[in-house]
């Protein structure tokens, strides 16, 4: 690393241009002309070399630009938008988020306070944000009550995401009950046993009776 730059070769313009290129590439800050000159003893016209380099990169994906007193490489402005890439990344919604989504869908327009009251817990910070980020809920207006709280409803994206033609396509509470998704019965095995037909076995057939919960 400790080489003598002073023992500089004959100032070959091509070599000098290469060096400028490397210095500008590797420097964190724009490099001043003076600083470049200091690196190129014996080279008379550093400015001309910069011009040549600028021409060389003109129209490319990278351009040589002047920034204040210094020179630097920068990516071409027209490409800036395409440097960054949006990568789809599937994320699972939390149980709370899905429940809030459902409440918004069934009870819209609904305020945050109403959601909290219905669920009996405060809405944690991220929950509504996540739904907003997904684009499924949207503000629908303000309730004409003290404080004029914002109300929330579902968006078209929500319908698209869940394959619903319209909000009317959401099954009603009675339909949920019928499909077993809404079960209001207390879950107790004892009651289940009482109400289930399969256990109404004829008593006469004792073998079945005895064996019935034998292996269970």
């Amino acid at each position: 690393m400790s080489e003598d730059a002073e023992v500089a070769e004959a100032p070959d313009p091509f070599e000098a241009e290469r060096l400028i290129e490397a210095v500008l590439f590797a420097s964190a800050e724009p490099v001043t002309l003076a600083s470049l000159r200091a690196r190129l003893p014996g080279v008379a016209d550093v400015g001309a070399l910069l011009d040549s380099l600028r021409a060389r990169y003109s129209g490319r994906g990278v351009e040589l630009v002047k920034r204040g007193e210094g020179w630097a490489f920068r990516t071409a402005p027209d490409l800036a938008a395409r440097l960054h890439l949006e990568v789809p990344q599937t994320r699972k919604l939390s149980r709370a988020a899905i429940e809030v989504m459902a409440i918004v869908a069934y009870h819209q327009p609904v305020t945050r306070a109403e959601i909290e009251e219905m669920r009996g817990v405060a809405l944690s910070r991220g929950t509504l944000d996540v739904l907003l980020e997904a684009g499924w809920v949207r503000p629908t207006g303000r309730r004409q009550t003290p404080g004029r709280p914002m109300t929330w409803g579902t968006s078209q994206a929500f319908l698209d995401a869940f394959g619903l033609e319209s909000l009317a396509a959401l099954p009603g509470v009675e339909e949920l009950k019928a499909s077993g998704l809404l079960d209001t019965r207390p879950a107790m095995i004892a009651y289940a046993a009482q109400s289930e037909d399969e256990l109404q076995l004829p008593l006469g057939d004792d073998t079945v009776l005895l064996g019935e919960d034998d292996g269970a």
């Binding site: 690393m1 490397a22 590439f25 590797a26 420097s27 964190a28 800050e29 490489f73 920068r74 990516t75 440097l83 960054h84 890439l85 949006e86 990568v87 789809p88 990344q89 599937t90 994320r91 699972k92 919604l93 149980r95 899905i98 429940e99 989504m101 459902a102 409440i103 869908a105 069934y106 219905m118 669920r119 980020e133 997904a134 995401a161 869940f162 394959g163 619903l164 099954p171 509470v173 949920l176 998704l181 809404l182 079960d183 209001t184 207390p186 107790m188 004892a190 009651y191 046993a193 009482q194 256990l199 109404q200 008593l203 004792d206 073998t207 009776l209 005895l210 064996g211 919960d213 034998d214």
Partner: protein, 266 residues
Amino acid sequence: MAQERLPTFDDWEEQPAPERGPGLDVLLLDLDGYEGPIDVLLALSRDQKVDLRQISILQLAEQYLRFVAEARRRNLEIAADYLVMAAWLAYLKSRLLLPAVPGAEEPSGEEMAAALAFQLERLDAMRKAGENLMARPRLGEQVFARGAPEGLRDVARPVFEARLYDLLAAYGGFQARKTVTRLEIREAKLYSVDDALARLSYLIGAAADWQKLEAFLPPGLADPLYRRSAVGATFVAALELTRQGRIELRQDGGAFSPIRLRKATR
């Protein structure tokens, strides 16, 4: 394997690699600079030939034994694994000098020597490989990356996953939680084991012959849960009375066949 590690010296790169191995004195002076016996052996081996494949292990063993003897004579502190290696090399030396025992199970002296030579050669190769790697132009020292990276972002665009089923199930769960505000637990009507014991003890007196278990069930078995509890309790009671030696139980047809019982015939 070394039990105790000797300190390394960080200034290796400043030292020109010796063409020939160091003399005994240098070796002893530098004892702290060596990483265990293999390292010393490698240093000693440079005394012989450049090509480790041609090395005389016998000669190397002698050099090493001289080194250890000299270290002990000078009361230099050397770690236990140096002595272990010395013992092993002394043994190897004897194996190399004495004729091989025919039919011996263990490897011959020549094989042991060759294995040691292999180990030295392999380590030496890795040492040289390391030096070669370090001699390459390194990123951040001779070769440089972009000094002012403009950042390249792969922005994660979240796509949320939820099915309609999840949504409806969540709402169902929510409604259910909301609806059931008061949970009433009805008294379960069950036939107790105590009842079964009392009933069975009473009835068994009259049963001199084998009778099915069902014969002892209480009346009023319309309710299925009650009926199941009666069967279970009566069976448990029958087991208890059998244990007490008051009745006998039998089941002739294997699993699920009728269970019969009668008063003990003692």
